[in-house]
Amino acid sequence: MRKDIANLKYVFNPKSIAVVGASDNPAKLGNVILKNLVDGGYEGKIYPVNPKYEKLLGLKCYSDIKRIKGKVDLVIFAVPSTIIPKLAEDCGEKGVRGLVVLSAGFGEVGNFELEEELRRVVLKYDMAMIGPNCLGVMNPAERVDSIFFPFYKFGRPTVGEISLVTQSGAVGSTVADLAAYYDVGFAKFASYGNGATIGDADLIEYLGADPKTKQIIVYLEGTKNGKKLLDVLERVNKKKPIIVLKAGKSKSASEAAMSHTGNLAGNYLAYQAAFRQSKVIEVDSVVDLFYVASIFSQPLPRGARVAVLTDGGGLGVLAADSLEKENMEVVEFSKETKGKLKKVLPPYVNVVNPLDIVADSGTETYQKSLKILMDDPGIDSVVVIILFQAPAVDSRIIDVLVKESDRKKKPIIVVAVGGEYTKENRRILDGYGIPTYGCPKSAVRTLRKFTDYSLFLQNKK
């Protein structure tokens, strides 16, 4: 691994952070970042840097980086781009190992020379740099946070297993915000922007080796080195699932193409080829990034045989339609399972898959039926549809699901369509590692991708 990439540990796990451009003006990024580190409970040393102040938020403020007496692992830059290469040189001389450059005004606006100058300095000292033109990093476990969005606007994910690598700060932060809302935790977050020295493939490689990371979400617009990306995707995806969203698919084929193939093969076809070849999980929407990543809190399914348990007939039928469309098997219950179910269900329930235990069934009926489905080795995963609107159903159903989910026999996923009350219950379930979905279609689509990844791992053995 390149030295600067190995130094990413000082970016994600710094013992001390300096914020260059710290300020007491709430409109400035440097203010938000400093405040977030202090309020967020970062336990390492924090050094505000700005010659205009003596003190900020009760912390001693330094006029420049070199004046700081102690060791500085990470420097976050929130100052105009033109002065950054010079300041980066100071960092290098001081022995700083990690930089996060939030500032825009580099290659993305045509200032290639400035970006090149910064790149040279950073590589000269083997510093790990995230950026420029980005949101930077989060590591919830250590409360490391360079995101310049205030806490009340952008929820921070708790500690978890998902790591996210994103070119776009906007996409990355919305996925993280969704995760925070549904109480799904993150291991690491990196928005790399221009990726002047460290880009997509480097971060995926690093997180592939990070023991805290179990799933990797990637948002890409373009890559600088496709061959390297393909190689890293292939290697890492065998160890942990990579979920990718590629933007910029509509860009037309190269105008100069002279063959049929040239015309058909737009910019995206090569990316699609690389994703299919490496067997990473490709999704086509921002929410799917979150959905697919969070389903991995469940055990891997052995196959594509699915049982649907519902207290609302229509939603069960919709789920069955989606399952068929996604080439999943709405499995026929075995004689044994049918017999067991008949014993616990009211006589008017038709014992078929999807199993509609009807709206006046309460928690206990759910519990008994679910246990039978979980014990049947002919079923690979269970989709539980809950009509939280029905009078017989309430939050006690959560205990039932958590208990079954904790046995880790096979995946359980939940579909619950509805408003506030439903959403509140969904959030609690997601917090317990039971993924929930607002419609049968997205649940099934996600389960299909989960199953495909599981089958890929099985074939590999």
Partner: protein, 210 residues
């Protein structure tokens, strides 16, 4: 397309064990007859002209020619239709089998390098855009997966009593093409159409840019 003669393109393929339909370029009617007799009737005649890309538009393609008399007639017709253009010669080619038309192509992508494309070929290729790709080099397993990814894959693997195409032949043709794309550092390649049936395939037309 580079101004490569069709003949040179066909020779390049043979180096990699990829065999286009038997053919020859005739400069005169007499040569055309000689080639046809060598490869055997029925044959097709195709106008080769650097100025004509869509041969059918100028009546530059005659198919199913069964004997010498009809060949001379067709030859004359083609030259008449092409009197405005510079003519490199007339390609005499063995008639292709009937079957499923596929397109096999290649392209050098600025990010990923050489990629190989497989799709449903023929006149609807641009309409359905039913294609899938891999980054070179590829293995037979890659090709098997690619076939499954095509929306119209039942056409290839067989529907309703229709026999599947010779998949083994497709696998090795794809692997060889992938090798050629990389070793010859081709910018773009079209084998279109390649007509497959249950026994094998015929490569009808080739174009590439080096």
């Amino acid at each position: 397309m580079a101004k490569k003669s069709a003949i040179a393109e066909f020779r390049m393929l043979e180096k990699y064990g990829i065999h286009p339909l038997p053919n020859g370029l005739a400069k005169t009617p007499k040569e055309a007859v000689a080639i046809a007799e060598k490869i055997g009737y029925p044959v097709a005649l195709k106008l080769i002209s650097p100025q004509v890309t869509h041969k059918t538009d100028v009546g530059g393609v005659k198919i199913g020619i069964k004997d010498k008399k009809r060949l001379l007639h067709a030859h004359e017709d083609i030259l008449e239709g092409a009197h405005k253009y510079e003519v490199e010669g007339i390609l005499v080619q063995k008639m292709a089998r009937k079957g499923i038309e596929l397109i096999i192509g290649g392209k050098k992508d600025p990010q990923f390098g050489h990629m190989i494309v497989l799709g449903i070929g023929g006149v609807y290729v641009e309409v359905f855009k039913d294609v899938t790709a891999r980054i070179c080099p590829i293995t037979r397993t890659d090709v098997r997966e690619m076939v499954g990814e095509l929306r119209s894959h039942p056409l290839i693997t067989g529907i309703r009593g229709m026999q599947p195409i010779n998949l083994n032949a497709l696998y090795s043709l794809m692997v060889r093409t992938s090798k050629m794309l990389v070793e010859e550092d081709m910018e773009e390649l079209d084998l279109n159409p390649v007509i497959f049936d249950s026994k094998g395939y015929d490569i009808v037309d080739v174009r590439f840019v080096k």
